[in-house]
Amino acid sequence: MGGHGLYVWLSYGAGVLVLLLSYFSPVMRRKSLIRELAQRHRRDPRSGSSNAPHSENGDISV
């Protein structure tokens, strides 16, 4: 590739890496979120479940 191949592959490699990471990050977050929320619900079925959410400080890490 005319000696510049390294650079091209480096860029695209970084691109693929960043895109993969940005894809899997929310996917894994979703899994752990569902697992955690299910656990909490098992431990403490909330009596206050309603359609009005509350904001709690430091309840679940983002």
Partner: protein
């Protein structure tokens, strides 16, 4: 004007359902376009007369740079809507978009640096566009840092909205001042008024990549907003039902 859409937009559940519907489309379109554009750009587009093969980095560099800026603009719109109409969903947008915007800005900078080495002989140069991009990265980090420092979600939402807007006012100022300060980067490939200086064989794959990157970004955004909704609405019946459903499978 039909305000129903606007009101529906304020309901997280409605948005969650819409996101579920559109996500696969954005994701697959995005992936297909990105793969097509990359292969086209890497293998089939002609190399540049002066730059040779390293020119192909343009197919990654330009779309990510365009997206990095559009993402911030979108956040700014969300910030205005959020401050004026007080819709929760806008804050979820900002929270979800900031890390994605930062990632794309970083990628634009990285690919730009890697492209710069063979073409300009140096990894980094304090040229107008690079510097402005770097500052954009700082603005993204600022929003992320502020959100993570403020514990109260309400305050974090409104404070980050203000910060995004202050940043947006600064973007043209930053661009202008940095441009005045130094210019080595070539002028824009696409402008709204002129035809691109490249032949179609070269800019068609670029267009494909740009659209692909927008689709993929939308998919990423929807994924993150979905997570935000799940977390913030965790006490509602519909979320709890959804989680029960998910845990069964």
């Amino acid at each position: 004007m039909n305000w129903t859409f606007f009101h529906k937009l304020g309901s997280p559940k409605w948005f969650y359902d819409i996101a579920e519907k559109f996500l696969p489309w954005f994701l697959w379109f995005g992936i297909v376009l990105l793969v097509t554009g990359s292969v086209w750009g890497l293998a089939f587009a002609p190399p540049d007369y002066q730059q040779g093969e390293s020119f192909r980095i343009i197919y990654l560099h330009v779309p990510t740079a365009i997206l990095a800026q559009s993402c911030y603009m979108m956040m700014a719109v969300a910030a205005v809507v959020g401050l004026v109409w007080r819709m929760k969903i806008t804050d979820m947008f900002i929270a979800a978009a900031a890390p994605i915007g930062a990632a794309f800005t970083f990628l634009a900078l990285f690919t730009g640096a890697v492209w710069g080495k063979p073409t300009w002989g140096t990894w980094w140069v304090w040229d107008a566009r690079l510097t402005a991009m770097l500052l954009l990265l700082f603005l993204y980090f600022g929003v992320m840092a502020l959100r993570s420092a403020l514990e109260d979600q309400d305050l974090a939402a409104r404070a980050s909205a203000i910060l995004v807007l202050v940043g947006v006012v600064n973007i043209p100022i930053i661009k202008y001042s940095v441009e005045w300060w130094n210019t080595l980067h070539q002028p824009a490939t696409f402008t709204l008024t002129e035809k691109p200086a490249m032949p179609p064989e070269m800019w068609l794959p670029l267009l494909v990549m740009v659209i692909g990157v927008y689709c993929f970004f939308s998919a990423l955004l929807l994924m993150r907003v979905r997570n935000e909704i799940l977390m913030r609405e965790r006490r509602t019946k519909w979320v709890q039902a959804l989680i029960a459903e998910e845990m069964k499978s």
